[in-house]
Amino acid sequence: MREFMTGNHAVAHAVKLCRTPLIAAYPITPQTPIYEKLSEWESSGLLQGIMMRTESEHSAMASCIAASLTGVRTFTATSSQGLALMHEMLHFAAGCRAPIVMANVNRLLAAPWGFWADQLDSLSQRDTGWIQFYCENGQEALDSVIQAYKIAEQVFLPVMICLEAFFVSHFMEPVEIPAQEEVDRFLPPLNLPHRFDIEKPGFLVPVVSSDLYRKYRQMMQRAMDSVKTVAAQVDDEFKTTFGRSYGIIEPILVEDAEVLLVTAGSMTSTARMAIQTLREKGYPVGLLKIRLFRPFPVEALQQTITGKKKIVVIDRNCSIGSGGIFCQELRAALIHSPDPPFVYNYLAGIGGTDVTPDTIGKIALDAIRRVDPADESIWWVDV
């Protein structure tokens, strides 16, 4: 059934369809509509699970970890400062191999204060052991939450579904809501190990020797590596059932392109329009969308990028002192390529500033005109 709704409400629908029994959350703009919608359904009896209204995001994540270890599906949603406050527990969730699913609405981090789109909040959690997906629109956010449970419950790692403030969270668009029976078939009743027995409470995170710690970390890394394959399989299965798929990366008009734009999240949609215009004007420009960020799909990217002359990564985030984070990761992935391309980094859309097809077109032309490589990130301001 197709309905007209925001990205936030699309996420809430996904959580309801996944029959998540435990949702623990704390409201924060611009994620709050997810929390409110789930609360509304809880009070009207439409939600199968319960909402735990915790006193902070740190507690919300702690609750999700505990519940997950009793063998049930869990969900939380947050943004920006809330995610930052969760930081310590994010490490615990991944280390405990708890298959929690979280939606993070990408909002800038203070200071100064604001509510606008910026991916730095989730990207700065990249080393916590969470799988991360970046979504282009509400439909993809809904579908990715459903896929996330299937992936998390196979590899025993938590998943963060990222959608940008405003451009996804608050954009109302037609969204296809899958039928409950289909989601039930795709996500059969859960049979996770019960690692925590509430009848016999105990401490789950003992002190270990250095050797054991290293082994656990290595197992986590191996599980994380397997996500590249598992996520692609789950996406294929999803397509069979629901008719939609996204890939872990998506190449668009890449084959005959000499210059490749790289984007993640909502900017990708706008870039799809921009490259059409550039093509009509005769510029050999293609587009590559990165959907899966953790684990970073190194092999898939290497294959797609081989033979290209210029890569133009547009980042809606900046690691101060380094630059755009998608660009950092991509440069590292390409270091052993034969005849590596020039990789340019443009910072655009930071703090929710608007990125139009024209912005992207101008960035592409700027990169096409450049003769020399550039190590530093280019702060793009439309003129």
Binding site: E136, F171, E173, M273, D354
Partner: protein, 183 residues
């Protein structure tokens, strides 16, 4: 694709207006996309609503700079020159005002609809929000959406004072003064 921009103040129903109209387009089988910009969520603060509608899914994920249609809830928020620069040539302007067409002689290159929304809304029993009133006027001015669809959306989405809102919509539909473009 049609791009519509709504300008008003917090409390006038700008955000809800764009959502109601978006939903009406959706019911009529179109692909709408709507969103809003507000600096701070409080009464009186300037609010901008955006609505795009097309026969196919819309890929743009950015603001609207040159709308085809501009709906002004509050004239005090716009400069005469700004409207001329912003609105697409051949565009349509819906203005909530108690003034006559002579006050807008420099905008006559556009198709204009004038509606004195406040007394209409108040007369129908709606205080504050002008969204349903202006949407009634919009339907008569542009014929982009059917009045009946808008009424259906109001019934579905506005649980309080539903009939008053429908009355305001209907009255504005009948009373909007329409002036074709002079160019």
């Amino acid at each position: 694709m049609i791009e519509i921009k709504f300008k008003g103040r917090g409390g006038q129903g700008v955000v809800v207006a764009s959502e109601l109209l978006g939903r009406a387009f959706f019911i009529e089988g179109k692909f709408p996309q709507c969103f809003s910009l507000f600096g701070s969520e409080r009464r009186g603060a300037p609010v901008i609503g955006f609505l795009r509608v097309d026969e196919k899914p819309i890929l743009l994920k950015c603001q609207i700079y040159q709308p085809d249609q501009l709906i002004l809830f509050d004239l005090s928020l716009v400069e005469e020159k700004e409207v001329i620069e912003e609105l697409k040539p051949g565009g349509t302007l819906l203005i909530n005002t108690d003034q006559g067409i002579e006050a807008f002689k420099n905008w006559r290159q556009f198709k204009i609809g004038l509606i004195d929304g406040r007394p209409i809304a108040r007369g129908a029993g709606v205080e504050g929000a002008l969204n349903t009133t202006l949407l009634g006027a919009y339907a008569a001015l542009t014929h982009e959406v059917r009045k009946e669809t808008l009424i259906e959306v109001v019934r579905r989405m506005i649980p309080i004072k539903t009939e008053s809102n429908i009355k305001a919509l209907q009255t504005a539909y009948d009373r909007v003064r329409i002036y074709e473009s002079l160019s």
